[in-house]
């Protein structure tokens, strides 16, 4: 091993860093594509399950949480099967509704949607369960008092439940942030290490892996890993600052 100074870092500023910056960009895009929806759905589902308005709590929770224990590699292949352009179940269902099939894994943006579908499938249950745990800390009397005072359930949801869930939401969003740059199994199973058309689904971790183990550039990969680390660290810090404030 030789010491080359900042060469591996300056490499990133030139043409060579293209794949890496693409992966960072993908991380940001993917984050906005799935995190808001997934977090919101997790909260909604948790609130419904928690509300005692529906039965079969155990059954629903089990079914929705089950994907979390599944190997994302296995799930990735299952989704490949479902998203196959000609004859995959999703397109067959679309056709039956009279809609044209979607080139799920062949188009840049649909490939990202496919990845997001897989990620939401795998992680929604986990997020729902931690939201459920968070809901336990909200005293029932609070929501009841609001409803008695004339608030509609929807208002109670937005003005009481969500603000009180802030710490849990923050936790979930931070995990999802780290997750969206660090998706590995999902990407490899869905699109291999080439990561889709024009590297559409290349996440930073996959990129670093490629650099280290396909290109055998340990030095460059390590430099990229450090940049990635600083980025995550700053993002996490910002999220704590903006959303972590207690009122």
């Amino acid at each position: 091993m030789e010491f080359v100074g900042l060469k591996n870092y300056t490499y990133l500023l030139g043409v060579g860093g293209k794949a890496f910056w693409q992966s960072i960009q993908n991380g940001i895009i993917l984050f906005f594509m799935y995190v808001p929806i997934m977090t919101f759905m997790a909260i909604v589902l948790a609130v419904i399950l928690n509300s005692k308005l529906v039965r079969f709590f155990q059954g629903y929770r089990t079914m929705i949480f089950a994907p979390y224990v599944t190997s994302m590699v296995a799930a990735g292949f299952a989704f490949r099967l479902l998203l196959e352009n000609k004859g995959g179940l999703f397109n067959l269902l679309l056709n039956m509704l009279g809609l044209p099939g979607i080139p799920w894994l062949e188009n840049v943006w649909w490939a990202r949607v496919s990845l997001c579908l897989l990620v939401v499938w795998g992680w929604l249950g986990y997020n729902m369960v931690i939201m459920l745990a968070g809901l336990q800390t909200i005293p029932r009397e609070l929501t009841e008092a609001a409803l008695i005072d004339g608030a509609s359930p929807v208002q109670a949801f937005f003005y009481i439940t969500i603000p009180l869930l802030r710490p849990v939401i923050l936790f979930s969003v931070i995990l999802s942030t780290m997750g969206s740059f660090g998706l590995f199994n999902e990407v490899m199973a869905l699109t291999n290490s080439t990561a889709g058309p024009m590297r559409a689904t290349l996440t930073t971790l996959v990129q670093i892996y490629n650099e280290a183990f396909s290109n055998f550039q340990f030095g460059r990969a390590s430099a990229q890993a450090y940049v990635y680390f600083v980025l995550i660290f700053v993002l996490t810090l910002l999220q704590f600052r903006y959303f972590g404030r207690q009122e």
């Binding site: 759905m41 589902l45 419904i48 399950l49 509300s51 308005l53 529906v54 059954g59 629903y60 089990t62 079914m63 929705i64 949480f65 994907p67 224990v69 599944t70 190997s71 994302m72 590699v73 296995a74 799930a75 292949f77 299952a78 989704f79 490949r80 099967l81 479902l82 004859g87 179940l89 067959l92 269902l93 039956m96 499938w121 986990y126 369960v129 931690i130 745990a133 968070g134 008695i148 849990v168 936790f171 740059f181 660090g182 590995f184 199994n185 490899m188 199973a189 930073t204 971790l205 892996y209 280290a212 183990f213 340990f218 390590s222 890993a225 450090y226 990635y228 680390f229 660290f233 996490t236």
Partner: protein, 278 residues
């Protein structure tokens, strides 16, 4: 509160509808995985889609067994089980130390430990690989078991758990002449079994599903774990290997699903405990 009857029925329908839609979406891949693994090749992409094939066969499974999926299954189990046992031992030991002993620099050390949780695996991936290579652990299961043994999350989890144990209990044991390590084995361990189970389940699941680790450390096919086996597998010549892939997927997924169904409560306890205290 006056509830309009119709409104209630409509709301309930919506709520049930949402839940059911979500549940169905979650279950669909499992069902399709299972169904496809038994189908003959030409029925996989047929319209209208076939759920229960009339020509069900075990050929897909025969093929993957010939390729060695059972050995992969065993490898996966071995790695998952070993790393779980080792990890819960060291994490409970570490958690006990942080929870029940006072020593200089304790808080600093603990904060440092927590800080390491922010470091993404990508950062340590390369240097760890180099170290593993130099020790001569390449292509063995060691690097999948040892490095993660005393991990920050586990120690954090155990420390929170153990700190709820009353100190008087430990003092009583000391007075009775129990050695310090004896206290750990005879007093602490039996009490923390539920916590160990929850943590162990999380570790087991994560080791079972781990792909990146085995990918970089394991080179000979007979050592492959299931995710690796699946990614490397080629289908029978002339066909795309979907049926066979789904067969391996079923093998990968079924054991954990069964464990999950049996230990559901412990699972969710572990997950939520990690999140709420985190």
């Amino acid at each position: 509160m006056i509830f309009n009857r119709t409104k209630l029925v409509v709301s309930k329908t919506i709520l049930y509808g949402l839940l059911t839609f979500a549940a169905l979406f979650m279950i669909l891949p499992f069902i399709w995985m299972l169904s496809t693994s038994f189908k003959p090749q030409d029925e996989i992409f047929v319209s209208p889609p076939i759920l229960l094939s009339r020509n069900m066969s075990l050929d897909g499974y025969r093929y993957i067994i010939d390729l060695g999926v059972l050995r992969s299954l065993w490898n996966t189990f071995f790695v998952a089980f070993s790393s779980t046992i080792v990890s819960i031992f060291f994490c409970s030991l570490g958690g006990y130390g942080f929870a029940k002993y006072r020593f200089p620099g304790r808080n600093l050390l603990f904060s440092f430990l927590l800080a390491t949780m922010i470091i993404p695996f990508a950062v340590t991936m390369v240097p760890l690989y180099v170290i593993v290579q130099k020790i001569g652990w390449m292509n063995t299961f060691w690097p999948l078991i040892v490095p993660g043994a005393a991990n920050a999350f586990g120690i954090f989890f155990m420390r929170q758990y153990i700190s709820t144990i009353s100190d008087e209990l430990l003092d009583a044991a000391r007075i009775d002449g129990c050695s310090e390590f004896g206290i750990f084995i005879r007093v602490i361990l039996p009490i923390i079994i539920p916590g160990l189970t929850s943590l162990g389940l999380i570790f087991f699941m994560s080791a079972w599903n781990n792909y990146l680790g085995p990918l970089i450390y394991l080179k000979s096919p007979e050592k492959f774990t299931l995710p690796l086996f699946m990614m490397q597998m080629q289908g029978p010549p002339g066909f795309s290997a979907y049926r066979e892939w789904m067969g391996v997927a079923v093998v990968s997924v079924l054991p954990l699903l069964i464990i999950f169904l049996i230990f559901q409560r412990r699972f969710t306890e572990g997950i939520t405990a990690g999140a709420i205290r985190g």
